[in-house]
Amino acid sequence: MTIKSHLVTCIVCPQGCQIQVRYEDGLLLEIKGNRCKRGKSYAWQEIQNPQRILTTTVRVIGGELPLVSVKTDRPIPKELIFKTMDLLAGIELKAPVKMGQVVLDNILGTGTNVVATKTVKKQEDSHQR
């Protein structure tokens, strides 16, 4: 039943606001230092269950590049980051890959998908240009 106070550095945008969060028993009492609404929800989320967007790469077979960059389409809990990396290490996509294409769906039951963040053409396509 003690009041806790934490300082959170916001990572939503480059301004990096220092946000002071006061809470008691999982109940939010006060948030100050944020310059926008997104900062407020970020700071409270960060105290309850820190989440991050994960970006990495996945192997592509037969593409103009050997890899395609990917991201989680929503932030995932921080503790799932390395488990998700392990899952993605086992994936090989066949070219062509389109930006936005789902690479892995519903990762670890979170309802979050991993999607491609760039288009990788087939190798012969690129030669035709």
């Binding site: 990096g16 050997p66 890899l67 960059s69």
Partner: protein, 420 residues
């Protein structure tokens, strides 16, 4: 094949893409984008992390997504592109290029936009003593190897310098299974954005050592370890503070240099502080009809700012090609005063360029707390802005209505940042 265009843009990264699109949209009928690589997008291609586009697109995008939006837009707009084409030299109204399979060609262009970006400072630029083994990479090269070519750089990594690319690569290498021993920064404050300290280092328990540097590189064929030491106020290693860290890789994130070899040879005036051309508020360099934007002009920390600046340059180049010439004689200089390292643009062109406002970008010399930026004309403050924090790593911008400044020929505008 003959190339005779209205606007030619050199470099297909974020600056070149935005400038080409803006030039086309501003009415230049033939716009040509020249890039030496196989694919457009420049450095954005390897910046697979998010954080791009928050101010420009109001969306949190990764680098490749940000680039693809622009690539689609320039294709729709009808901008012509020449890939695998290196520009060899520039002069007003023409470019000499080397094209794959076609050899050396001349391109005539009524206006030219320079958007060549920047390159990384290397070990040689710092002169780190020791041996010359494999395993010493600049952070951007490591980023390309991991994210584009799919090659891992090492297993046990020390990072020198806390620039953003170094911080991003600390996280990226950790995700790919390497151990990052620490990030060592010679200055008493970090070089990168504070959010990258949090999400790239703190999230992964990677320590940041301020006022530290690498003093020796060990290893015969491959890096075997480095010596690190604390530095004093004059950035000199403190004797007795040295310690040995075993590692197989040293990453360097020790600064970026605008890539102005072409500009220098062309005779364009360069500012020693920014390493880029001296430009007026229409982004025109000292050579009439040659404009510059993005990291070739000064090193930015946010791509959104590069885009804004490049739109201005592209538009101005289009107007120039249509016959609207900005002249240097009617320019007023900006002056860097107290705690201001540099201000851009260097000159405010008083000619009517169709813009109501002018935006200035500046960096402070030293970090301060809550600060006030003052724009001073004839001893009087004519515009100001409060910044909650002023850091050398974070560019400050201010947009002012030109009429409110009411600048006259012979005047100047002084910029000062004071802690309050």
């Amino acid at each position: 094949m003959q190339y005779d265009v209205d606007v030619a843009v050199v470099g297909g990264g974020p600056a070149g893409l935005a400038a080409a699109l803006a030039a086309k949209e501003a009415g230049a009928s033939e716009v040509l984008l020249v890039d030496r690589e196989e694919q457009l997008g420049g450095i954005l291609k390897q910046c697979i992390h998010p954080g791009f586009g928050i101010s420009f697109f109001n969306a949190d995008l990764t680098g490749p997504e940000y680039a693809e939006r622009f690539i689609e837009a320039i294709n729709r707009a009808g901008v012509k592109t020449l890939n695998k084409t290196a520009v060899l030299s520039i002069k007003p109204r023409s470019l000499t290029v080397l094209m794959e399979g076609k050899g050396i060609k001349e391109i005539s262009a009524k206006a030219i936009v320079l958007a060549m970006g920047c390159r990384e400072r290397t070990r040689e630029a710092l002169g780190i003593p020791g041996f010359r083994p494999a395993g010493v990479f600049t952070a951007g090269l490591a980023q390309r190897l991991i994210n584009i070519e799919g090659k891992m750089i090492g297993r046990r990594i020390v990072i020198l310098g806390s620039g953003d690319v170094g911080l991003i690569m600390a996280r990226r290498s950790t995700l790919e299974g390497a151990v990052v021993e620490g990030v060592y920064e010679i200055l008493p404050y970090p070089g990168g954005l504070v959010r990258n300290i949090v999400q790239c280092l703190e999230d992964y328990g990677i320590p940041l050592y301020l006022s530290h540097t690498v003093t020796f590189i060990h290893g015969n064929k491959r890096v075997e370890g480095v010596n690190v030491a604390k530095v004093d106020q004059n950035l000199q290693p403190i004797s007795g503070s040295e310690r040995y860290i075993p590692c197989d890789t040293l990453l360097l994130s020790v600064g970026l240099i605008p890539e102005n070899e072409l500009s220098r040879v062309a005779g364009i005036e360069i500012d020693k502080r920014t390493g880029g051309p001296i430009v007026d508020s229409m982004m025109q360099t000292s050579l009439s009809g040659i404009f510059a934007c993005g990291n070739v002009l000064h090193v930015h920390d946010l791509v959104d700012n590069v885009t804004q600046e490049s739109i201005k340059a592209g538009k101005a180049a289009a107007f120039f090609s249509l016959g609207e010439r900005g002249k240097r004689e009617i320019c007023v200089p900006t002056i860097s005063g107290k705690n201001v390292r540099y201000v851009l643009p260097h000159l405010i062109n008083l000619m009517d360029d169709g813009e109501e406002n002018v935006t200035f970008y500046l960096r402070v010399e030293k970090p301060t707390g809550k600060s006030k930026l003052n724009l001073i004309k004839n001893g009087e403050t004519v515009a100001s802005k409060i910044e909650p924090l002023a850091r050398p790593s974070e560019m400050i911008s201010i947009t002012v209505n030109k009429k409110e400044l009411s600048l006259q020929k012979g005047e100047s505008l002084l910029f000062e940042v004071t802690e309050i």
